[in-house]
Structure formats: C-alpha cells, structure tokens
C-alpha cells in the first residue's frame, strides 16, 4: 500500500439510520419518564460532578437517544448519584433512575 502522507478523515455526521438505539429503547422501556426530557439543561447546571468533570447529563441523554454511545460509559461513571438533578428537573424526569438504567443497558449489551 502506498503511503501518501494522509488518510481519509473520519465522518463525524451522525448517521441516524445506522444508529445503535438499543440503550435508548431499554431505558425507554424501564424508565418511561426518559421520554419527557426536553433538554433544558437544568440537571447539568446543578450537577455536582459537572463542576469538576466532563459529566453532562443532558448531553448523555441526547447522545443515548441518537445511538451515539461510544463515550457514554466513561462519562457516566463520574455520576455520584447525589440526586440533585432529579430534584431540579422541571418536567419530573427520574434522572437518577435513567442513569442507573443506562448503566444496566451498557452492561447488558457489553458496550
């Protein structure tokens, strides 16, 4: 193979038709309030872990819904399960359980 000095760049456009939505469907089934999140970001704003780590619950929930789970495991490990997010959510999403279910799904599908 010839070395041209460059290679093809990775396509960062989310191809939703090929998305792996198993985690999203699992969470949807076991924690129905996952559906009513409207991504306002209140949970992320109040998150204890978010002060010192990359943990962003709003983004995690969106990425899971789009099937983009590559970095979710590492990010979600930072969660302390303190419950501030559930307290703050204006829609009544049970965010602590959503996090637990995401973790369970990651285990279940060995992702």
């Amino acid at each position: 193979m010839i070395n041209f000095g460059y290679t093809l760049s990775k396509d960062r456009q989310i191809d939703f038709d090929k998305a792996d939505r198993r985690i999203a469907l699992f969470v949807r089934e076991h924690e129905p309030s996952f559906n009513i999140c409207f991504a306002c970001g209140t949970c992320t704003a109040t998150c204890s872990a978010g002060n010192f780590t990359e943990m962003n619950l709003r983004k995690i929930m969106t990425m899971v819904k789009r099937g983009y789970v590559a970095d979710v495991r590492k990010e979600i490990e930072q969660c302390m399960l303190c419950g501030k997010c559930s307290l703050a959510c204006p829609r009544g999403v049970n965010t602590r359980n959503v996090i637990r279910k995401i973790n369970q799904a990651l285990e279940l599908y060995a992702l």
């Binding site: 939703f16 009513i36 709003r58 789009r66």
Partner: protein, 351 residues
C-alpha cells in the same frame, strides 16, 4: 341608535363572527366571500389544537351565527372596486352589482406560505415532501395515511419554521401556530399509525398558549414523539423515494442525517392576495411584513387608518382561532361604536 349598513369582506372565521355580532346588534350586514363556501381555511382543518375538537363544530357555530342574525351573504363575490366617497363606502363586483355601506370590516385572512420557494426542501420536486395543510386534508378525507408510493410511512419528519423566521424568503416574523400544529399533527399521526416514529425538527418550540405545554408533554410521554433541536438545511431523495434529511442535532453538537418516508413542512402564514388587493383599493396602511397596520398596537388593534374601516383576523397578523374570535367581536364593537358616532380619537393623547 339607528340601523346602519356594514360591509364585511371575507367569509372566514373573522368575517363570519364579526358580521354575526353586528347583525345581532340590529345593523344591516352584507358579507362577501370570494369562493362558494363560507369558513375559509377552517374548512381544511379536521381537528383543532389544543383540545382536538372538530373544526366542523366551529364552522357550524359560525354558520348558525350568520343565519340566525340574518346576515346577507354574497358568495362567489369578486370585488373589482372598493372606495370611500364622503362618509359612504361603495363596493362593486365583477358581475356589475354595486353595494353601499356606512362602514367596512376587512377580514381577508391569510394565505399559506408557498413551500416551493424553499427550493432546498424539494417541495413540488420530491414526491414524499408535503405541507402541513396537505397532511390535514389527508386526515379530513378519512382515508388511511400513506405516502406517495401508497405505503404506510414508518418514519415521518416534521419541519418547523418553513417560510417563517427566514430572511431568505422575506418573512422574518414567527407564524405563531405552526409549532403547536406540528405537535397536534404528530399526535394524530401516532393515533393512526401507532408504531410510526416521528421526528420534529425545530428551532424553538413555541408552546405559548394555555394547554400547549400539556399537549407537548402528552406527545412525548404517551406517543414517544422525538424532538430534535436543529433546522433542516436541505433534503434529498434516496433511491427508494424516501427523503434524506440533513439537520444539526444542536444538543449533541453534530450534523446528522436520517431518512424519513414522509417529510411534512409546517408552512407559515403570509398576507393573502385578497389583503393586498383590498388594501390597495381602500388605501389602507401595510406594516413591514405585508400585513395590515393598525392605528396602535396596544389600544387600537382593529382600527385602520381610514375612518370607518376596521380589521378582523389574520389579515393583521398570524392568530389562533380563539384570538380571531376575540378579534372579530372587538372589530364588531368598534364598528358599532363608530356607527353610533363614538369618537375614540378623543381618547388619544397627542404627543
């Protein structure tokens, strides 16, 4: 109070409600409608937000109002001339008939945005791209919901803000009712096709009215409708006729592509051709967006720059149906006061 004559131009909700109320007060009202049916755009709408009640019930309510008060309805009326002579208004139709009145209510309503102007969305080119108005007509027809190839769609995309908030097509304002219509239509589609997946592509979700937030939550909770914050940039056609959609998932921060079997464009509200025509004939002022300009945005909302001419309904701005009812009753009141020689100008402080 003596009985006067009033001409109402436009037989939609605003025209029907304002003429019914004025006639109930005892005035002689003539209502002109350019098609052969009263009801305007409401005739093309099956269920109304936020309660999902039937549009035809509202039409019946309006028709009873018009009939009970004995409004003189002239259908198929093509107005070729309308002008004010002294304190009287003269209207002439294409068939030669002329009418006189002491006041006029202009209720010429709106047109739906022509989605062909958004070339990149492919309306009129790709078969599976339709407008929200066409979708509603499919609901009204009672036939099963299928795409252009006769197949039941499994994935449906709803595009918000088509022709609104868009400098490129010349409409910078928000058309108000399209967001909640998208939510309403998503729920209706899911009721007809329970295992369909619906994706609404929005910039903001304008759930301003009472019960709109409840409807939005219901769409997410009960029907699992997906809301993706990101505006549609372009749509293309796949080999199988499905539409490939390119949006940015702004909350994920990445561009996204996906295929849908049917793409519904939530077209906005634009000033109607009738508004432009009648406005020119009567010398009425237009606002910067092409709708009529009232004399004061807070205190004189149905009053025009020509004494004796009043506005009602969407010819002034996009409105919801309950707003139009309130508006037309206000227009009727202002007209009646004008005819009783109540001088509202006395209440204005000149600066």
């Amino acid at each position: 109070m003596s009985n006067k004559r009033v001409i109402v131009i436009g037989g939609g909700i605003a025209g029907m409600e304002s003429s019914a109320n004025l006639a109930a007060m005892g005035h002689e009202v003539t209502l002109f409608e350019k098609t052969n049916q009263l009801g305007g755009h409401l005739l093309g709408w099956e269920k109304l937000f936020p309660t999902m009640r039937l549009g035809k019930d509202v039409i019946e309510f309006l028709e009873k109002g018009v009939n009970l008060s004995k409004v003189n309805v002239v259908k198929n009326a093509d107005i070729v001339d309308a002008r004010k002579n002294g304190k009287t208004f003269n209207v002439k139709l294409a068939d030669g008939k002329t009418y006189e009145s002491d006041a006029v209510i202009v209720a010429t309503g709106y047109d739906v945005f022509d989605a062909r102007k958004k070339e990149e969305y492919g309306y009129g080119i790709y078969n599976n791209v339709i407008t929200s108005a066409e979708l509603e007509e499919m609901f009204l027809s009672g036939k099963p919901l299928v795409n252009s190839q006769g197949k039941t769609p499994k994935k449906i995309g709803m595009v918000h803000c088509v022709g609104s908030r868009d400098e490129k097509v010349g409409n910078v304002y928000c058309s108000k009712v399209c967001c909640v219509t998208a939510v309403k239509q998503s729920i209706e589609i899911k009721e007809k096709i329970p295992d369909a997946e619906i994706y609404c592509y929005y910039m903001d979700l304008r759930m301003f009215g009472m019960h709109f937030e409840t409807l939005y939550k219901q769409a997410q909770e009960k029907h699992a409708v997906n809301f993706i914050r990101g505006r549609l940039s372009e749509s293309c056609e796949n080999m199988d006729g499905s539409i490939l959609v390119k949006v940015e998932d702004t909350l994920a921060g990445r561009p996204m592509r996906m295929s849908v079997d049917m793409l519904v464009l939530m077209v906005g509200i634009v000033p109607s051709e009738g508004t432009k025509k009648i406005g020119a004939m009567l010398g009425l002022n237009f606002g910067p967006n092409g709708f009529f300009k009232c004399q004061d945005q807070h205190t004189m909302t149905t009053v025009s720059n020509v004494p004796g001419v009043f506005f009602a309904g969407c010819c002034m701005a996009p409105r919801t149906i309950n707003n139009v009812f309130a508006d037309s009753r206000a227009a009727a009141l202002m007209t009646a006061n004008y005819l009783a020689e109540y001088e509202i100008e006395k209440r204005i402080t000149q600066n």
